[in-house]
Amino acid sequence: MAKNMNLKLKVWRQKNKEDKGRFQIYDATNVSPDMSFLEMIDVVNEELIKKGEDPIAIDHDCREGICGSCGVYINGRPHGPLREITTCQLYMRHFHDGQTIVIEPWRAAAFPVIKDLIVDRSAFDRIIAAGGFISVNTGGAPDANAIPITKDDQEWSLDAAECIGCGACVAACKNASAMLFVSAKASHLVRLPQGKIERERRALAMVAQMEKEGFGSCTNTEACSAECPKGISMDAIAQLRREYFKANFKVRK
């Protein structure tokens, strides 16, 4: 069995939106390699509370990689050193005794820090509210099998629909662009016949809201896709660009 470790944590502490914030160093001792990263933070926090200090604030909920709540920079990478996982799925066996771990919140103008490692990602909700849906009311839907969908289209659609809205794509991008998030939703819906009807309107509305929220421009560095815990592909961005371009000629303004 692997031995327990002693680590140094360099953690971003910021009391609230207005506070300037700074790094603070903490010891994490006797860390089991079978602990999850968040469990390691739990243990450090329990120690801090017992010492009368303020525990590190961090968003987390399901702890199984699907709710999208957790998400921090770990040693300069969103969700840490492994590919295609979230922070809560990262286990301490991927670190070594004596290591220093730098932990920071997402850094983006459109994601202001609320406290410590917690940021405000409500811009994502507003983008979806602008157009990330199919306009159908409850009731009156045709029989589910009345709309055949090819298996390929369904699988592609689902690949994009797996986005968990964590914001790692924005955090990874040097321009803090939200293109991968926006294009994942556009791609999910436009692959399906029922989503094609309002494709132009959707592309224009979501992109307009994205710009309004203060996200940067996409320059195709692909950092977003490389750091996406669900492995959303750059194809989604290529597709949205096409959608957006065509929509500008098709929609009556």
């Binding site: 609230n16 739990d42 399901c62 709540s69 849906f133 409850t138 090819t150």
Partner: protein
């Protein structure tokens, strides 16, 4: 107070149709004059808020997370049931109804369950129209798979992420209404009280989790869609934030609590690895189709699994239940695993686990086939345990997963407080004493999309229309109580952390109110919970202040409520001197040590009425009447 289920008269299949016609309507132009509050943004909350807003009501919706899309419905893996009968294998509304009633061990209301089965098909249609990418066949039509407790294939799915896809569907419908300004969204707010005026629910008071402000919101009706209380066990498959506070505060305002002791312990979860453990991860039920469950025959055998020869292994489910084998229902599988561990036959470094072995299946079907079926689950297992299940058997153990109990509601989903409704997991309504796989998603969406839009209208059309404002003294009083409660929590300044208390409560619940319950154990639990509660209020330490984002303070309020709810669960388990579904009383078993139901004395819903702090709550009974199905003893031998 007399419990009135308000089940409509008439034949089973006509009840809902007739009821919808008999309910009074709110005319389209008048709907905008009504305000509705929805608490919780999971499947039930999001679907209800979207559907009501589409009808024209003014909706306000609240969640404690940073976004409505985080609600824990998102984590459901397997699928959603519907009686479409697409596979042509004999499914029908009646069969889905029958399977659900039987699976619930005859402790749910026939009329509610029938309605659930009746609207199940509409849910699938609705979700497809929204763009939920369910699995399909090459011909372009929808695919189905099988789940426990049914002999037909009726489960619709989207890989192992069905909950996520359904929630994102409901979330997109909700956000569309937010964009249209028909719904106002309030995130990072925790509901801490329901406000009653003239005996009716007229609003809520919440705490703003960013700055600690206590805020009031008024409405004509309040819908609680706040999920289950499985986190009373501390370790569970629920999200860390899932809690019972909203329903508990409603209970204290007069909403009866139905069957609090009915909890579901899921048999296949990744076991605890150490004292720091914060949650347990579910491994889908589908694994039991090919995995074989075993322990060493000899107690205390600590050899590695590969070194234990075939003849020294006990495939205990196959041995005890030859006809169902590893596919017995969840409650039976869980209890048997516990029995093995109690007999010192548990495996792994902690000894609190059993093996789920795929070796034979890999030999029979080949590794590729197993990878195709379960690849993502095997990966998840390896990520967490660093063991490769293709070569070493998985270690699994049961964990708290779902609560069938919840606020008592009538056929209209209204609690005993007029104007206060409960939808989804937070009501007690449809699953009896045990829920079948792939039925939780079905119920959440049935309540939100297809039941509440009708029954809420019926209530509003009949209520006397009087606007209330948050200046009303009832709001001020609730606000003051909440502030006082927060001050009280912060002023204890003891030595133990909130998590420390929660963990201890979880241990008590798990040991005495878990998979196996006895008169003595339950009485011990009540004593221990009371002592712990007292200690909590004398020795808890919460750092920081109210006027900031304070995660310890949030948890403290929830744990304080769990410390009361846990006692009610034990009381309810005490009075139910029978075994049924997930509730196993050691005193009530057959000669073969199986659960023994007692229909003569316990065919009722236990509905508890709050009578004041430290006063014994009053038990009301709603007799269950079975006009269509004949309750029978379940056997899986």
């Amino acid at each position: 107070m007399k419990l009135e289920s308000k089940v409509p008269a008439g034949g089973l299949s006509q009840k809902w149709t007739n009821h919808k016609f008999n309910l009074k309507l709110v005319n389209p132009a008048n709907k905008r004059k009504y305000d509705v509050i929805v608490v919780g943004t999971g499947l039930a909350g999001a679907s209800a808020a979207a559907s009501l807003a589409e009808l024209g009501y003014n909706v306000k919706i609240f969640c404690f997370q940073d976004s409505p899309r985080r609600a824990h419905s998102i984590a459901a893996q397997g699928g959603i049931n519907a009686s479409k009968n697409y596979p042509n294998d004999g499914d029908s509304t009646y069969r889905l109804f029958y399977d659900t009633i039987k699976g619930g061990d005859y402790r749910s209301r026939e009329a509610n369950v029938y309605r659930l089965a009746e609207v199940s098909n509409n849910i699938i249609d609705q979700c497809v129209a929204q763009g939920v990418p369910f699995a399909r066949e090459y011909g372009g039509l929808l695919d189905n798979r099988s789940f426990g407790g049914a002999q037909v294939s009726r489960t619709f799915y989207a890989r192992g992420e069905t909950g996520q896809q359904l929630l994102l569907g409901a979330y997109s419908a909700l956000m569309r209404q937010v964009g249209l300004k028909q719904v106002q969204m309030f995130t990072r707010r925790e509901m801490l009280d329901v406000v009653l005026i003239d005996g009716k629910a007229r609003g809520i008071v919440v705490r703003n989790l960013i700055n600690g402000d206590v805020e009031s919101y008024a409405a004509d009706a309040v819908l609680l869609c706040t999920g289950g209380y499985g986190n009373v066990f501390y370790l569970s498959t629920n999200a860390k934030g899932s809690n019972g506070t909203a329903v508990w505060r409603a209970y204290k305002k007069g909403a009866f609590f139905g069957n609090p002791c009915f909890t579901q312990i899921h048999p296949t979860c990744i076991p605890v690895s150490g004292s720091y453990q914060s949650k347990l991860t579910l491994m889908s039920e589908s694994l039991r189709n090919d995995g074989r469950i075993w322990v060493p025959k000899n107690p205390g055998d600590k050899r590695a699994p590969g070194q234990i020869p075939e003849e020294e292994r006990d495939y205990f489910l196959e041995r005890k239940y030859p006809s169902f084998g590893n596919l017995v229902p969840r409650d039976v599988a869980s209890r048997n695993a516990k029995e093995m561990v109690d007999a010192d036959k548990g495996v792994g470094s902690t000894g609190v686990a059993v093996y789920l072995d795929f070796n034979d299946a890999i030999k029979r079907l080949g590794r590729d086939k197993i990878e195709e079926k379960y690849g993502n689950l095997f990966e998840m297992y390896e990520l967490i345990t660093a063991e490769d299940p293709y070569h070493v058997p998985m270690r699994i153990y049961p964990a708290s997963h779902y609560t069938m109990g919840g606020l008592w509601v009538d056929y209209n989903l209204m609690t005993t407080v007029p104007g206060l409704f409960a939808l989804g997991e937070c009501n007690f309504s449809d699953h009896g004493a045990n829920r079948l796989g792939a039925s939780a998603l079905m119920q959440g969406l049935a309540d939100g999309y297809f039941v509440i839009p009708y029954t809420l209208g019926g209530y509003l059309a009949e209520m006397k229309k009087e606007k209330v404002s948050t200046d009303h003294p009832a709001f001020k009083e609730c606000e003051e109580n909440i502030k006082q409660n927060v001050r009280k929590l912060l002023s204890v300044k003891g030595k133990r952390t909130v998590d420390d208390f929660h963990r201890e409560l979880g241990n008590i619940m798990w040991n005495f109110v878990g998979m196996s319950r006895s008169e003595n154990g339950l009485k011990t639990a009540v004593e221990k919970i009371r002592t712990l509660r007292e200690e909590f209020w004398n020795d808890v330490y919460i750092p920081g202040s109210n006027e900031e984002l304070n995660q310890s303070l949030e948890k403290a309020g929830r744990v304080a409520d769990f410390l009361e709810l846990g006692e009610l669960m034990a009381e309810d388990a005490l009075q139910r001197r029978e075994s049924c579904g997930g509730h196993f009383r050691e005193e009530s078993q057959t000669e073969e040590n199986e659960a023994k139901r007692d229909d003569e004395n316990f065919a009722f819903v236990a509905a508890w009425e709050y009578k004041g702090q430290n006063v014994k709550p009053e038990l009301h009974k709603e007799q269950l009447v079975f006009e269509n199905v004949q309750p029978s003893q379940r056997s899986y031998k």
